[in-house]
């Protein structure tokens, strides 16, 4: 299982639902098991990433927040 991040996305400043949309687009290009790291500032991205992972089966490996900056680590199924 890959532990290196295949793609890092800086989505800070983008508003809902662009952060999850761009992440979904990027994941399409990756291989199964690859990791994507997404950084966002929109608070809407928290429920968006959770719901999208639930709906698609991609794994939300990690989610953290640091002073308004959100970080999501998603593994492609």
């Amino acid at each position: 299982m890959s532990t290196t991040t295949a793609k890092r996305l800086d989505l800070k400043g983008l508003s809902c639902p662009l952060p999850i949309a761009k992440t979904a687009q990027a994941i399409r290009e990756l291989r199964s098991g690859d990791l994507v790291e997404a950084l966002a500032t929109d608070p809407g991205s928290v429920p968006d990433f959770a719901a999208w992972c639930r709906a698609t089966g991609n794994e939300l490996v990690e989610q953290s927040e640091d002073g308004g900056d959100y970080r999501f680590l998603v593994r492609k199924k």
Partner: protein, 388 residues
């Protein structure tokens, strides 16, 4: 004694308002949603059904599954509102008492005010209509397709523009585009209500050979002659006619004598109270507010309604106003889309159409059920009006 709130309508506005009220007030409130079908429909999906991009199955869900357990659901039709008595009469004979009322009854389509419309035109403003149109397009071999608007106001101003742009792509794929003529009949002197969006889409329409007739307000249809006539005295011949049907407020509004001549509820643009009534709120498509009738409008209004009712229940000063926020996607048909984000103070500055916004619309379509009716998208999301 918990405050009793009746919410008429289980669409996006009513469902979200009910859930937010129950969540915010807990045992201080008893919320009941009254809906005639008990089915919650995702109306933006009709466009995709019409163009063969989706079937109807993901479009509707049991309203009960979208409501919190502490919210009651009465699958009934409200027929008369009695503001002074604080009751709502139900079709099957019962009556519901309320301390606060939320009217989120939406809009209904009326086919008979435009002669010939029902027989001569297709529409994608209902699931059945979208399915019929899908079949008509499947067997369409070429000819003149006119897309027009038979009444103002109507839900989702971008939809007719999206339809012609996506139809262009659909016909190209089928190899029928060269044999076809697509024309948008606009009631205004531009393609779209919002000027900045018109400026964006009109060149795209022109590049793709999609015609635009302006100041064409549909007055009647002659199905045998294949002609649609405008209020302005013009005629257009068609082989396939797609019209946005006239819209009115729901019958319960007319029957309660609460609406304006169009059946729309006179609503305060900031407090969302029904004019002249402190304890009655109106939201979504049902209001007379001169803003877009769109799901997002109801979505952004719901927290204001819930918060204001909570303030009334607790006897505290109201904390929020509705700022007119609306957010609409606009598909441009080539795997791209743009977004119209605006409010009372700020007109939209639509970004250049991009694949990212098209992906965003599809993510939204997909995630709607898991997030919006339950209020899992925080409304405080950053504005970012002008970003790409």
């Amino acid at each position: 004694m918990p405050a009793r709130v009746a919410v008429l309508g289980g669409g996006v506005g009513g469902t979200l308002a009910a859930n937010l009220l129950a969540k915010g007030l807990g045992r201080d409130v008893k919320v009941t949603v009254v809906d005639p079908t008990g089915m919650h429909v995702y109306q933006p999906g009709f466009l995709y059904v019409a163009l063969g991009q989706a079937n109807g199955r993901w479009l509707a869900r049991d309203e009960r599954t979208l409501l919190r357990k502490d919210v009651d659901l009465a699958v009934e039709r409200a027929i008369r509102i009695h503001p002074d008595a604080g009751t709502v009469q139900l079709e099957r004979g019962g009556s519901l008492e309320w301390d606060y009322l939320v009217i989120a009854t939406g809009a209904r389509l009326v086919y008979d005010t435009v002669p010939g419309l029902a027989q001569g035109a297709y529409e994608f403003y209902s699931l059945e209509g979208a399915q019929r149109l899908r079949e008509a397009l499947r067997t369409f071999r070429g000819g003149r397709i006119r897309v027009g608007i038979a009444g103002i106001p109507y839900k989702c101003p971008p939809a007719p523009v999206e339809f012609v742009l996506m139809l262009d792509g659909y016909l190209r794929k089928r190899g029928a585009r060269k044999r076809s003529e697509i024309t948008l009949l606009s009631p205004l002197n531009r393609a779209f209500t919002i000027e900045s969006a018109s400026k964006l889409v009109q060149p795209i329409m022109e590049r793709r050979g999609i015609g635009l007739e302006t100041f064409f307000n549909v007055e009647s249809v002659d199905p045998s002659a294949g002609v649609v006539e405008s209020l302005e005295g013009e005629k257009a011949e068609y082989d396939l006619l797609v019209l946005v049907p006239p819209h009115r407020g729901q019958r319960v509004v007319d029957q309660s004598s609460l609406g304006d001549p169009g059946g729309w509820l006179p609503t305060d643009k900031r407090t969302l109270q029904l004019e002249g009534h402190e304890r009655i709120f109106a939201m979504g498509d049902a209001t007379n507010l001169p803003i877009s009738k769109s799901g997002s409008t109801a979505h952004f209004e719901a927290p204001v309604v819930a918060s204001r009712i909570a303030s009334l229940v607790h006897g505290t000063a109201p904390k929020t106003n509705y700022g007119g926020r609306v957010m609409c996607f606009l598909e441009t048909g080539d795997g791209r889309a743009t977004a119209l984000r605006f409010d009372y103070e700020h007109p939209p500055i639509p970004p250049r159409p991009s694949r990212a916004w098209h992906a965003a619309k599809w993510v939204f379509n997909r995630l709607y059920w898991e997030t919006v009716p339950q209020g899992r998208i925080p409304e405080r999301a950053s504005k970012g009006r002008g970003e790409a």
